[in-house]
């Protein structure tokens, strides 16, 4: 059977800040900017957390205090590089056996200007093996959660 190899998702953004600040806000400060719609928890997302060290957890915390794992920190090299394990399946649930990688690089472009590049790779691992094995979509935080998240993203983009 042919393995489907989707290209990695690549995005980049330039921010008017030093490399150090950009890295710090992305990691320790993730709770201050992570969109509250971007969650797989059952409740309303209160904050997002990246523990600032290799092996650290990456998770969401709901307003009721419940936490939901999203992945972990694979590489923590301030201020230039961060690799996160995204362990959320295509059914929008945490799966400890699944690892896709999200790499962030922070590069100085000029004084007070930083380019942040993101690559989300190994997306083929989100593919049919997992999809067929774990296809109960009715669970809380399943497809419905993914759809509302996605709809919010589209609305936001369309609203510009």
């Amino acid at each position: 059977m042919k393995t489907i190899q989707p290209a990695p998702v690549r995005r980049s953004v330039e921010v008017k800040a030093s490399v150090e600040r950009a890295f710090e806000v992305f990691t320790s400060g993730i709770g201050s900017w992570w969109p509250s719609t971007h969650t797989i928890g059952k409740g309303k997302l209160k904050t997002a957390v990246i523990e600032p060290c290799k092996g650290g957890r990456w998770y969401g915390e709901d307003e009721d205090g419940a936490t939901t794992e999203w992945g972990k920190v694979l590489v923590f090299e301030p201020p230039g590089r961060l690799v996160l394990a995204w362990q959320i399946s295509a059914e929008w649930r945490y799966d400890p056996d699944l690892v896709t990688e999200v790499e962030l690089t922070f590069t100085p472009v000029a004084a007070g200007l930083t380019r942040v590049e993101l690559e989300h790779r190994h997306l083929e691992r989100l593919g049919p093996k997992h999809a067929e094995m774990r296809a109960s979509i009715d669970s809380p935080g399943g497809w419905g959660g993914m759809m509302s998240l996605y709809a919010a993203a589209v609305e936001r983009i369309a609203g510009r």
Binding site: V9, V13, A135, I157
Partner: protein
């Protein structure tokens, strides 16, 4: 190639979503799906057609029946979705970094 927008549009219809969810629990033919839902066979066929166009399901003949299943190539839709996801996240990140940087500069001026 199906994109995330198509996938969203295809699943916006609640009945169509139920058809998709039914397939997520295992491959099925039109008749099987219609039997489990308060929808006619022709209506189910129409929904399957839309899901197929969006890259969410695929079909193949098995004997006299045509069996539908969740399409692995729906990965295209997942990829498109993640692309949007990160665009929104990075925009929010940029906004926050620059807000902080600006606050810092203004604080510096005030001294």
């Amino acid at each position: 190639m199906a994109n995330a927008q198509q996938a969203l549009t295809a699943l916006a219809d609640p009945t169509r979503r139920r058809v998709f969810e039914r397939l997520a629990s295992g491959p099925a033919a039109v008749g099987d799906i219609a039997a489990g839902l308060p929808v006619s066979r022709p209506a189910v066929s129409q929904h399957l057609k839309a899901l197929k166009q969006a890259g969410l399901v695929s079909d193949r003949p098995e004997g006299a029946r045509r069996v539908y299943r969740v399409d692995p190539a729906g990965l295209g839709a997942i990829r498109g979705w993640l692309d949007q996801f990160w665009t929104v996240a990075l925009d929010a990140f940029k906004e926050e970094v620059e807000r902080r940087e600006k606050a810092q500069v203004e604080k510096g001026k005030g001294k």
